[in-house]
């Protein structure tokens, strides 16, 4: 039986041997790498690079038609419209004020969400790295929200935060009165940051936990023998040795924060007003939700965002490379 399988197995692979030999003979060995890369290059080309090129093309056209042949060439007009501002710090002075509100909201969201998420993830990882009861359970608790679909996360929190939701019912029961959490711009913004941290924190806790466990135990033993206090061990040993991991976590969370959309869209719809409208939602609204659809403007806005993401990705690459060199 085993011999039969081996024969079939070898036979299946030998089918390719002759054609590949002929190919290598005709192309030369140094070009064979391209033959193996070709399937992946085709897939990436078709589903990644071609859409990018199309997006660039769309950003230079106007009108509400979908087919590029039916669209008018407008050059850089869409970018000029987006950047037509009295002051970039005051969205009201901009022609496309909603774009700049989205830029401002995204900026604040990234700063607050990433800042607090790294801090809380670090604290959680430090606690979970210690010998505590039910450690496995708590690790699962932190990671569980990561497994949930963003829409499910948003619906759960909507159920908690709405006018007659669980939170208000609890506050009412405690005699504290109720708050329209999602109808007040400041509270709505607070909650999108909070929910986003709750939903994504587990992933970063896991990475930081791996980073913490990679720190050699003998360093801590030596510090303990020298009588170094716990706080000093954290500042002088843990954090410096965890820095490369923290850097990766920061860049990854920055990229994900800039791309935030689904949870927020379901939770607040970008409202009240434009208080929780981030860049991706602006692009979606302009390109798909409003009529007539302004594909050119949406494409231009998405390229602006792609520029920001490119910078963040290059930072991540630099950080990873530095870590590899140090490691």
């Amino acid at each position: 039986m085993t011999a039969l399988f081996r024969t079939l197995y070898e036979g299946a692979f030998n089918i390719f041997e002759k054609p590949m030999r002929m190919l290598q003979y005709s192309l030369g060995a140094h070009r064979m790498a391209w033959v193996f890369l070709l399937p992946n290059l085709l897939i990436f080309g078709l589903f990644t690079y071609l859409p990018i090129l199309l997006n660039i093309w769309y950003s230079t056209t106007g009108g509400d038609r979908i087919l590029l042949g039916d669209r008018d060439w407008v050059g850089g007009d869409n970018f000029a419209t987006l950047f037509d501002c009295g002051s970039y710090l005051d969205p009201n002075s901009c022609r496309r004020d909603l774009f700049w509100r989205a830029v401002h909201n995204t900026g604040w969201f990234v700063v607050l969400q990433v800042g607090f998420m790294i801090l809380l993830s670090l604290i959680a990882a430090l606690i979970l790295n210690r010998t505590i009861p039910l450690k496995g359970f708590f690790r699962a608790v932190f990671f569980y929200p990561v497994l949930l679909s963003p829409v499910v996360v948003a619906l759960i929190w909507k159920w908690i935060l709405q006018r007659n939701g669980v939170l208000n019912a609890g506050m009412d029961w405690a005699g504290m009165g109720t708050v329209n959490w999602l109808l007040d711009p400041s509270w709505a913004f607070f909650w999108i940051v909070f929910v986003s941290i709750w939903a994504n924190m587990g992933f970063y806790v896991l990475i930081l936990l791996a980073g913490l466990q990679a720190i050699p135990g003998d360093v801590y033993e030596a510090a303990e023998m020298d009588g170094t206090p716990a706080w000093r061990r954290l500042v002088r040993i843990t954090l410096p040795l965890l820095t490369p991991t923290l850097l990766v976590v920061m860049v990854l969370s920055l990229i994900r924060a800039v791309q935030a959309f689904d949870e927020i869209y379901v939770l607040t719809g970008g409202g009240p007003g434009s208080a929780t409208t981030l860049l991706i939602q602006y692009i979606y609204d302009v390109g798909f939700a409003t009529r007539p659809r302004q594909f050119g403007l949406a494409a231009a806005a998405s390229l602006v965002m792609a520029g920001v993401l490119l910078v963040l990705t290059l930072l991540q690459l630099a950080a990873t490379r530095k870590r590899a060199e140090e490691g």
Binding site: I66, R163, P185, G270, P272, G273, S274, T276, T290, Q294
Partner: protein, 420 residues
């Protein structure tokens, strides 16, 4: 023998391929419209041997988002049930050359036929047969009024009178909301016109922010500030997102709800005998008592390979007897003038639903020309989505009312310029 059977089968298939015409009908339904049409098309198929109609039931979102993309690239169904006549007008087939009695159709559906006669479409073309006329209007929770001991405003009462009475009921009964209006410019337009908004300039372009528009916008924002209007509906979303308050009305959390006739079936089913409710009919402003017309209709598309068959089907859909039968089962309002005059014998409806249908049907003739003009305006979607986006900013304090109205005017102008 086997050879003979195979040849016969092949000949039969070839013949049916040559003569059989299959029409694909993309259909969405608020209630049972597609199911009723599928039954009705059996009559059409019996009358027109060789033509079959396949009804593909899809969500409304597919009609809004997928259908335009399919049509843009020359694909998609032969016919569809749509609501965005202006946006899809350029893809529509003119059925006039294929229908038997174009003049009768013109006489019956003249007002709604105009909704698709935009852009390059012919001024006398027959593009759409509306099978579900909708009318915006109010609903009131009669039980709450009785519990509060407040008199319900009479038909023809003003928005101010309804606001005052609804707040009195809310305060007496302790329910969450006095009034609510669906979050869309379509619903906002009716009271704005009633307050005197002209909406269009001399050349027929929207959106003019005049004193009438500003007056209702100001009133609307003030009603949100003082709690008369349910803040959750408009402030609870961003951009042009549609949001209704039907669930609040069904849960008896809302005294007066301004929505439209398409809610009647849902209220009849979901409220049952939990409380008494009534359709208020038109609500008045200083200048008019209009609602907004609208509705779904059957249209054919010009990429079809069977224009004649599509035209025949449009003619069938327009027939008085077919419309009367379908409307009786779907419990919708007729766009057909003859049926509007004679009334529909709705089947198996409760007294409340029957009264509501009657009230909404009676309000249709009072709708203003401006309301019909807006419904038929090619770029009305730009108006409908921009109004909630900007007025919500004024409601939550992101913009002053003046800034919001300036932005609204500019948004609509930009969108129309982009489309052109």
């Amino acid at each position: 023998m086997k050879k003979n059977i195979a040849i016969s089968a092949f000949a039969l298939l070839a013949a049916s391929a040559a003569h059989g015409q299959e029409l694909r009908f993309m259909c969405y339904q608020d209630g049972n419209e597609c199911d009723v049409w599928a039954d009705a098309f059996q009559t059409f198929e019996a009358e027109n041997p060789g033509i079959t109609v396949v009804v593909d039931v899809v969500p409304y979102q597919a009609i809004l988002e997928s259908l335009p993309v399919q049509l843009e690239v020359g694909e998609g169904p032969d016919l569809a049930r749509v609501t965005d006549y202006g946006g899809l007008a350029r893809f529509m087939l003119d059925a006039r050359p294929f229908v038997e009695d174009a003049d009768t159709i013109e006489a019956r559906y003249g007002q709604s036929l105009a909704w698709a006669r935009v852009g390059d479409n012919a001024a006398d073309g027959i593009y759409n047969i509306v099978d579900q006329l909708t009318a915006t209007g109010g609903f009131a929770n009669q039980t709450l009024f009785e519990q509060a001991g407040v008199d319900m405003p009479e038909p023809g009462a003003s928005w101010a009178e309804w606001a005052e009475a609804s707040v009195a009921v809310q305060q007496a009964t302790g329910v969450d909301f006095a009034m609510a209006l669906d979050r869309t410019g379509h619903r906002f337009a009716a009271p704005a016109i009633s307050y005197g908004a002209a909406l269009f300039d001399e050349s027929g372009e929207a959106l003019v922010i005049d004193d009438g528009f500003r007056a209702f916008a100001e009133q609307f924002v003030n009603w949100h500030e003082d709690g008369t209007m349910a803040r959750d509906v408009w402030a609870g979303a961003g951009g042009g997102t549609y949001q209704d308050a039907a669930a609040e009305f069904i849960n008896a959390n809302l005294v007066m709800y301004y929505s439209g006739s398409w809610q009647i079936g849902r209220f009849g089913r979901d409220i049952g005998d939990a409380f008494d409710w009534v359709a208020t009919g038109g609500v008045c402003g200083p200048e008019a008592c209009t609602g907004m017309p609208g509705g779904a209709g059957v249209v054919g598309f010009n990429h079809t390979e069977h224009p004649e068959a599509v035209g025949k089907l449009i003619g069938f859909v327009a027939r008085d007897d077919v419309q009367a039968q379908v409307l009786a089962q779907t419990r919708n309002l007729p766009a057909n003038a003859e049926l509007q005059a004679n009334g529909i014998d709705y089947q198996d409806v409760t007294p409340e639903v029957a009264a509501a249908l009657t009230a909404f049907a009676a309000s249709v003739p009072t709708f203003s020309d401006t309301a019909y003009a807006l419904q038929g305006y090619q770029y009305n979607r730009a108006v409908f989505t921009s109004i909630p986006a900007r007025l919500t900013q004024a409601i939550v304090g992101e913009l002053s009312l003046d800034e919001a109205l300036d932005r609204l005017h500019q948004d609509v102008a930009d969108a129309i310029a982009e489309a052109r």
